[in-house]
């Protein structure tokens, strides 16, 4: 087991790993904070959740970092509470159980269950026209092309199914986990020449996404944080978000509102060059991602032109107040 995970289990003993060493915020809960396998009852879904210790890190990139954009600063110290993060990106196997299983069950005209469960009450995606995987395959491939609203609704469904509160990572949590204690451009250092060991990106992807977990994990055991698919974060995108972070801030987030755009996606993708895979690189969703949806109102579930976006889920050890019961505010009337 890796030292940092061990530390979290043992009550987060500080280990000397430099300025990014995590400091546990909730030692009394730490004994229960270990990796686990989530199994979703009534489905064949199983996925690994990695315990991420709480700690303080520097969000953003330094001025001199190659490929840096202005929205990656100013750098700020941010404290993150302990949480679990999915080891890989959400696969189609996982997402399909949410998106399509109910429709499959109902296709023969069978009446719905007399006592619907909480999960049954959650809205499912309207079926996409055409192939939502755009020919890239399903199964263990990362789910792609879903909108932020759909990713949030997946989390709500998953929470109802499991009784454990899953959600999208905040942007700060995501970067903290991607860095895994590093302060360099990538979690393994600054040398983009090594990126191919850790990531699927434009230089090695063959222009398509790949089965999740196929590349080396970062120091905390997370795969594909760089590349494969860019990953939705919970936050509404705000270019100047970091400049407003107060000293000593814990668990910062720009709560998503009822606007369809822009939200944050992180980590770069199979379709990006190295610089966009940097731990600090930020991306915002735009209407262009759905520029060829011929319907009005346009879908709030699927994109027509974003085959490089996906997501993974997190679960807080102790959820912060402003994220309890978080739910997408987007409706088909959202603009």
């Amino acid at each position: 087991m890796r030292p940092l995970i061990l530390a979290s289990i043992l009550g987060a003993v500080a280990i000397g790993l430099g300025p990014q060493t995590p400091r546990a915020l909730a030692p009394e809960r730490a004994a229960a904070h270990a990796n686990y396998v989530e199994e979703v009852a009534g489905t064949r879904i199983k996925f690994d959740m990695i315990a991420i210790p709480g700690g303080t890190f520097t969000i953003g990139s330094p001025d001199g970092e190659a490929g840096r954009a202005a929205d990656e600063g100013p750098q700020r110290q941010v404290t993150i509470r302990p949480f679990w993060m999915e080891r890989t990106e959400v696969t189609w196997d996982e997402f399909d159980a949410f998106a399509f299983a109910a429709a499959i069950a109902g296709a023969g005209g069978v009446a719905p269950a007399a006592t619907p469960s909480a999960a049954d009450a959650i809205t499912r995606p309207t079926p996409p026209y055409a192939d939502e995987s755009f020919g890239y395959g399903k199964g263990r491939q990362p789910a792609i092309s879903m909108q932020h609203h759909a990713a949030m609704e997946y989390c709500r469904w998953l929470s109802a199914k499991t009784g454990r509160a899953y959600r999208l990572p905040t942007e700060a949590e995501w970067e903290y986990a991607a860095r895994a204690g590093s302060t360099t451009a990538y979690s393994f250092g600054n040398d983009a020449a090594k990126l191919g060991d850790y990531a699927w990106y434009a230089a090695n992807s063959g222009e398509h996404p790949h089965v999740v977990g196929g590349k080396a994990a970062n120091a905390w055991g997370l795969h594909d944080m760089h590349g494969n698919v860019a990953e939705w974060c919970l936050d509404q995108y705000d270019a100047s978000a970091y400049s407003r972070l107060a000293a000593g801030v814990i668990g910062p987030v720009v709560l998503p509102d009822d606007r369809r755009y822009p939200q944050v996606a992180r980590g770069g993708s199979w379709d990006d060059d190295a610089a966009r895979l940097r731990s600090a690189a930020r991306r915002q969703s735009t209407p262009d991602w759905n520029r060829r949806d011929p319907q009005s109102p346009q879908s709030i579930w699927w994109f027509t032109d974003a085959t490089s976006v996906g997501f993974r889920v997190v679960r807080a050890v102790e959820e912060q107040e402003n994220l309890k019961g978080i739910q997408s505010k987007i409706t088909k009337d959202s603009r």
């Binding site: 296709a107 026209y129 055409a130 192939d131 399903k138 011929p294 027509t304 085959t307």
Partner: protein
């Protein structure tokens, strides 16, 4: 029609007399605009998701376009569409209450208004009637695909095509791949011989389920069927016609021909609930072109299965793969790939191209082409429904009229599910 005269007319938009002088009885761009403009006044017939989307597309496609009339069978659909378009396009939506029409005759009222560009986007079963009426009224037409659901409908549409041509009216169809950069660049190369002669082709629209509207107690059978039009062959043509026509059209485009014979199979195996009407959920058709080239076509709407929406061509000197929005590739001696990021917005482009053609006095008329692709799909459906081989002539001359003669609110039974080997070829 003489291009120069027509162009002059479009530029000046002076009087109906000039139009009459050119084409008796047809007023292409009525003289309601200020002199010197060539304003496009759009009427939307069918305010569902696609019709509303098409209205948004045309308003985004060129300057000088306003939406001035709207019609839908249902008041709720009309209002929702109008509210949303107004919110998104402001002054470009100039639809007053007296230009908002509902009911089965809404299309006639839109056509009777001073529009010069109509969007036909109701369920396809109504399309032949609407096309005929729109051409009779002298309107330029953007018509959604497919343009009919049966042989009689296609015969009507082909007659309408001739009428439109005689009147110099423009018609563009919602087979938007023909206005999509990736497809256009691919077809240019195919027609230039990049893969040699085409010896075989494949096309697919294999996807999951689509939407349905749960029946509300106050709905008559007719209202329920029309709100769930996908699932009734008289309204949609079945999904091979309604959806897969896109891929079939691409192969016809590549072949510059339509198949002459089809042998197909299909069934209704999974999506069997009453809510899904009586259409099939899968088809596989072996099409044969005049020159012997075969097209293998598959379409499926069953969730949880392998999905694939694409086309492929096999040539004597290479192969071609196209997949809407995702890839356009030629392999072989003249290997080539279109960068997907450079692809355009075809749903807007088709209106841009159409309006440019109208303003240039050289109106596009795609009706015959889309009618042929529609009939190709109908021919495949007829073969799958009956289990028989079906020729182009049999499909074209079919006496099977699926659309009720008098459509009105009230009882209408769900037709039986076709049974290959028993359902007669009519």
């Amino acid at each position: 029609m003489n291009d120069k005269t027509r162009r002059e007319f479009l530029k000046t938009a002076t009087t109906a007399a000039l139009a009459t002088a050119v084409t008796p009885g047809v007023e292409l761009f009525p003289a309601v605009h200020a002199a010197g403009t060539d304003a496009i006044r759009v009427g939307l017939i069918g305010c569902g998701g696609r019709g509303s989307g098409a209205a948004a597309d045309v308003l985004s496609s060129a300057p000088g376009v306003t939406l001035v009339a709207m019609g839908d069978l249902f008041p709720d659909r009309l209002k929702a569409s109008q509210d949303r378009l107004r919110q998104n396009f402001g002054d470009k939506v100039a639809v007053t209450a007296d230009r908002s029409f509902t009911g089965f005759d809404a299309y006639q009222k839109v056509l009777a208004s001073d529009v010069n560009y109509v969007i036909l986007a109701t369920p396809p079963g109504f399309r032949p009637t609407h096309l005929k009426a729109a051409v009779a009224a002298g309107k330029n037409i953007f018509t959604e695909k497919p343009v009919a659901v049966d042989g009689p409908g296609i015969r009507s549409v082909l007659a309408t095509y001739e009428d439109a041509k005689a009147k110099g009216l423009g018609i563009v169809a919602g087979t938007q791949r023909r206005h999509q950069t990736g497809y256009l660049e691919t077809m240019k190369r195919i027609h230039d011989g990049a893969i040699g002669s085409i010896v075989a082709a494949r096309c697919y629209w294999n996807q999951g389920f689509l939407w349905k509207k749960d029946r509300e107690p106050q709905w008559t059978d007719m209202e329920w069927q029309i709100r769930n039009w996908l699932y009734f062959t008289w309204l949609s043509g079945d999904h091979i016609v309604e959806q897969h026509v896109h891929n079939i059209d691409v192969v016809n485009w590549a072949m510059r021909a339509h198949p002459v014979r089809a042998v197909g199979m299909g069934g209704r195996q999974v999506r069997t609930g009453d809510a899904y009407g009586h259409i099939f959920d899968h088809f596989a058709i072996d099409y044969e072109y005049e020159n012997g080239t075969r097209l293998m076509s598959m379409c499926r709407q069953i969730e949880g299965c392998e999905k694939n929406v694409s086309e492929a061509l096999v040539g004597t000197q290479g192969q071609c793969r196209t997949e809407d929005k995702a890839r356009y590739e030629i392999a072989g001696a003249k290997a080539w790939k279109f960068p997907v990021a450079d692809d355009n917005k075809p749903y807007v482009q088709e209106h841009t191209d159409f309006i440019a053609s109208l303003r240039a006095g050289k109106p596009l008329n795609e009706l015959k082409t889309v009618a042929e692709s529609t009939l190709t799909a109908i021919m495949g459906r007829m073969s799958a429904y009956t289990g028989k081989a079906v020729t182009w002539e049999q499909a074209l001359n079919s006496q099977e009229s699926l659309v009720p003669a008098d459509v009105g609110f009230g009882p209408i039974a769900t037709p039986p599910v076709a049974v290959p080997g028993q359902t007669p070829l009519v």
